[in-house]
C-alpha cells in the first residue's frame, strides 16, 4: 500500500504530509503530556479556597482582605472600593485591579463607583479613610493588614 502510494507524486505528497503530522505528534507527545500533568499537579496542590482567588496571587491583592470581604458583606450588600498609596504593593497593577477583581469575586454584591450614600460598605485598599468619611462616619469591621480596611457606614 505504502509503496503504491509512493510511486505516484500525489501519493508521495500525501504520505509526506501525514508523516510531518506524525512527526509533530512524536516530538510533542512527551513534553505535551508533561505540561498537562504539571498543570494538573499545580492545580490539585491548591486548596479549594485558594483556587477561588487564584488571580489575587498574580495581582498581589491581599487574600485576607478578599476573604474578609466575602465573609463580612452580605449577598445583597452595596459597596465601594477606594484605593490609595496607604498600602505597599509589589506590582503597579495591584491598585488598579482591586476594584474590578473585587467586583468579579463579590457578586452578587453590588459595587458602586464611589462611596456615596448608596454604598453600605467601604473596601479601603490604602485609601484615605478620613477623606472617605466626609459623607458620613463609618464603623471599621476589619483592619487585619496595614492600610487595608473594611468598614460599614455607621447607622
Amino acid at each position: 500500500m505504502l509503496r503504491t502510494l509512493l510511486r505516484d507524486p500525489r501519493g508521495a505528497g500525501a504520505v509526506a504530509v501525514v508523516a510531518l503530522a506524525l512527526l509533530l505528534v512524536i516530538v510533542q507527545a512527551v513534553p505535551g503530556l508533561g505540561r498537562v500533568h504539571d498543570a494538573a499537579a499545580r492545580n490539585e496542590g491548591l486548596a479549594p479556597y485558594e483556587r477561588s482567588i487564584v488571580s489575587a496571587y498574580g495581582l498581589d491583592i491581599s487574600r485576607n482582605f478578599l476573604r474578609a470581604a466575602r465573609r463580612l458583606l452580605p449577598p445583597d450588600a452595596t459597596y465601594a472600593v477606594a484605593t490609595g498609596d496607604g498600602v505597599q504593593v509589589s506590582t503597579p497593577i495591584t491598585l488598579s485591579a482591586v476594584a474590578p477583581y473585587a467586583q468579579s469575586l463579590l457578586l452578587p454584591r453590588r459595587q458602586l463607583p464611589f462611596f456615596t450614600a448608596d454604598a453600605q460598605y467601604l473596601l479601603c485598599y490604602g485609601c484615605d479613610l478620613t477623606e472617605q468619611q466626609k459623607g458620613g462616619a463609618v464603623r471599621v469591621l476589619w483592619n487585619g493588614e496595614p492600610g487595608l480596611v473594611i468598614a460599614r457606614r455607621a447607622a
Partner: protein
C-alpha cells in the same frame, strides 16, 4: 472539586447531546446506531447551540435561564425534531459495509494519545481557578450577573469591558451555574473541557468514514498537543469556543460543497450562527468563510450560492435579538469606529499588522506547525488539480489573515505586539485549528481517486 457541580454540568451536557442527536435525526436520520456514536460529538455541539441560542433570545426579552426552562426548551426542541423526523427508518444495529484501512494501528495509537491527553487535561480543568484576565474581568461576571439577577443587568453590563460582546458564552455559563446549583467558577472550567472534547470528536466524526484513521488522528493528536491550546482551552471565555464553532462550520461547508447533503448545510448554518453569537470576531470569520465558499463554488453557483448565502443570512438573523438589546440601550463598542480618514492616517500600520498576524498564525512554538502543514497539503492539491476543499481552505486562511490584519489596522489604540494586549494571539487560533481540521481532508482529496 465539587462533585455536585460536576454532576450538574454532566446532566446539562447530556441534555445538549439529546437535543443535538434529535436534531440530526430530523435532518439526516440514523442509518445505524454506530452513526450516532460517530456523530455524537457533532450532535453535542449542535445541541449546545440549539439550547443556548434560544436562551440568549429569551434573555433579551427579560427571561433568564433556569433549570426548568432549559429542560422545557430541550424537551420542546428534541420533541419537535423527533416529530419532524418521524418518517425516518429506524436505525440498524450496525452498518453493513465493512472496510479495511491501511495502517489502522497508527491511527488508533494517535487517537489513544489524544484520549490520554484529554483525560489528563480533565484533571487540570476540574481543579482550575479563575486565572485568565478576560475571564474574571468580564466573561464570568456577566454570567454571574445573569445567574444572580435573573437577566441582563444593564448597569453591570455598562460597567464591564466588552459591553456589546455577544453573550452566548455568558449565557451558557449562567446555565451551567443553574445546573451546578451555585456560581462555582472552579468547576466551570470543566464546561470548556467538554467543549474541547466535543470539538475534537466532532471533527473526527465529520471526517470519518471518508478519511482513514491514520490520516485523521495524527492531525487531531497534534491539535490537542498544541501548547497554546493547553494554555487557553479551559479558560471560561469565548476565544476557543468561537474557534470550535467556526472550524466545525467551515468543515461542514467544505463537505456540503463536496457531497450536497442537506444535513451538512443545516449544521453549517447552526454552527455559523453560534460563531457569530460567541464573539465579535465571529462575524468577521463568518464573512471570510461565506466569501470563500461563494468564491470556490462559482461553477455550482445556481445550486450552492442561494443555500450558502441564504443559510448564512438566517444565521445572522439569529444574532439580531442581542443586537437590538444592546443598541436599544445605547451600549457601544461594537466596531472599531474608525473613519476612512483615520484608516488612511494609520495606513502605516497595515504591513506591520499583517506581518504580526502571519508570524503569530505560523508560530510553531505556540500552535505547532499544523497550519503550514495543512497549507502545504492544500498547495499540493492545487498543483495536482484537486480544487475542492483546498481552495476553500486557502481562501478562508487568506481572508482570515487579512481580516485579523484589519482589526489591528483599524484600532489604532492596539499596540502591534505579540502579547495579549491585543486579541490577535488568541484570534489566530481559529486559523491554526482550521489547519488541523482541514489537514486530513486535504490529504484525502490528494489521493482520493486513487482508491
Amino acid at each position: 472539586m465539587n462533585a455536585w457541580s460536576i454532576a450538574g454540568l454532566a446532566a446539562l451536557n447530556a441534555l445538549f447531546c439529546v437535543v443535538g442527536a434529535a436534531l440530526l435525526w430530523a435532518v439526516r436520520g440514523w442509518r445505524a446506531w454506530t452513526e450516532l456514536l460517530r456523530l455524537g460529538a457533532v450532535a453535542y455541539l449542535l445541541g449546545v447551540v440549539c439550547t443556548t441560542l434560544p436562551l440568549v433570545w429569551l434573555l433579551t426579552v427579560g427571561v433568564g435561564p433556569s433549570v426548568p426552562l432549559v429542560i422545557a426548551l430541550a424537551v420542546v426542541a428534541a420533541g419537535a425534531a423527533l416529530f419532524a423526523g418521524r418518517r425516518r427508518p429506524r436505525p440498524a444495529w450496525r452498518l453493513r459495509e465493512r472496510r479495511t484501512e491501511p495502517f489502522v494501528l497508527v491511527g488508533v495509537a494517535c487517537a489513544a494519545l489524544a484520549v490520554v491527553w484529554l483525560e489528563a487535561f480533565f484533571r487540570v480543568a476540574r481543579a482550575s481557578g479563575l486565572e485568565a484576565f478576560d475571564a474574571w474581568s468580564f466573561w464570568v461576571p456577566k454570567a454571574q450577573a445573569i445567574y444572580y439577577f435573573g437577566g441582563l443587568d444593564e448597569r453591570l453590563f455598562r460597567e464591564l469591558a466588552g459591553q456589546t460582546y455577544p453573550i452566548l458564552v455568558p449565557t451558557l455559563e449562567a446555565t451551567d451555574f443553574h445546573f451546578m446549583g451555585s456560581a462555582d467558577t472552579n468547576a466551570l472550567h470543566v464546561q470548556f473541557w467538554l467543549l474541547l472534547v466535543g470539538f475534537v470528536f466532532a471533527v473526527a466524526g465529520l471526517l470519518r468514514p471518508r478519511v482513514p484513521l491514520v490520516v485523521v488522528w495524527p492531525f487531531l493528536a497534534a491539535l490537542v498537543l498544541m501548547p497554546e491550546l493547553g494554555a487557553r482551552a479551559i479558560a471560561p471565555q469565548a476565544d476557543l469556543t468561537l474557534d470550535y464553532f467556526f472550524v466545525s462550520a467551515a468543515l461542514c461547508a467544505a463537505l456540503f460543497l463536496r457531497e450536497r447533503e442537506p444535513w451538512l448545510l443545516v449544521s453549517y448554518g447552526i454552527l455559523l450562527a453560534a460563531a457569530m453569537s460567541t464573539k465579535r470576531e465571529g462575524q468577521l470569520l463568518a464573512a471570510c468563510l461565506v466569501g470563500a465558499a461563494v468564491a470556490v463554488s462559482w461553477r455550482d453557483r445556481r445550486f450552492a450560492w442561494p443555500r450558502l448565502v441564504g443559510v448564512a443570512a438566517l444565521a445572522f438573523v439569529a444574532t439580531l435579538p442581542w443586537r437590538f438589546w444592546f443598541t436599544s440601550r445605547d451600549l457601544r463598542g461594537e466596531t472599531p469606529g474608525a473613519s476612512l480618514s483615520t484608516l488612511l492616517d494609520s495606513a502605516g500600520r497595515i504591513l506591520p499588522s499583517l506581518r504580526l498576524v502571519v508570524e503569530l498564525a505560523l508560530d510553531s512554538g505556540a500552535w505547532l506547525a499544523l497550519l503550514p502543514i495543512a497549507i502545504t497539503a492544500a498547495a499540493l492539491c492545487l498543483v495536482f488539480g484537486r480544487r475542492g476543499a483546498s481552495a476553500l481552505f486557502l481562501l478562508v486562511v487568506a481572508f482570515g489573515l487579512l481580516g485579523l490584519t484589519w482589526i489591528l489596522w483599524s484600532i489604532a489604540a492596539l499596540p502591534i505586539v505579540p502579547s495579549d494586549a491585543t486579541p490577535i494571539p488568541r484570534a489566530v487560533g481559529a486559523l491554526t485549528l482550521l489547519g488541523a481540521a482541514f489537514g486530513p481532508l486535504l490529504v484525502w482529496e490528494l489521493v482520493e481517486d486513487r482508491r
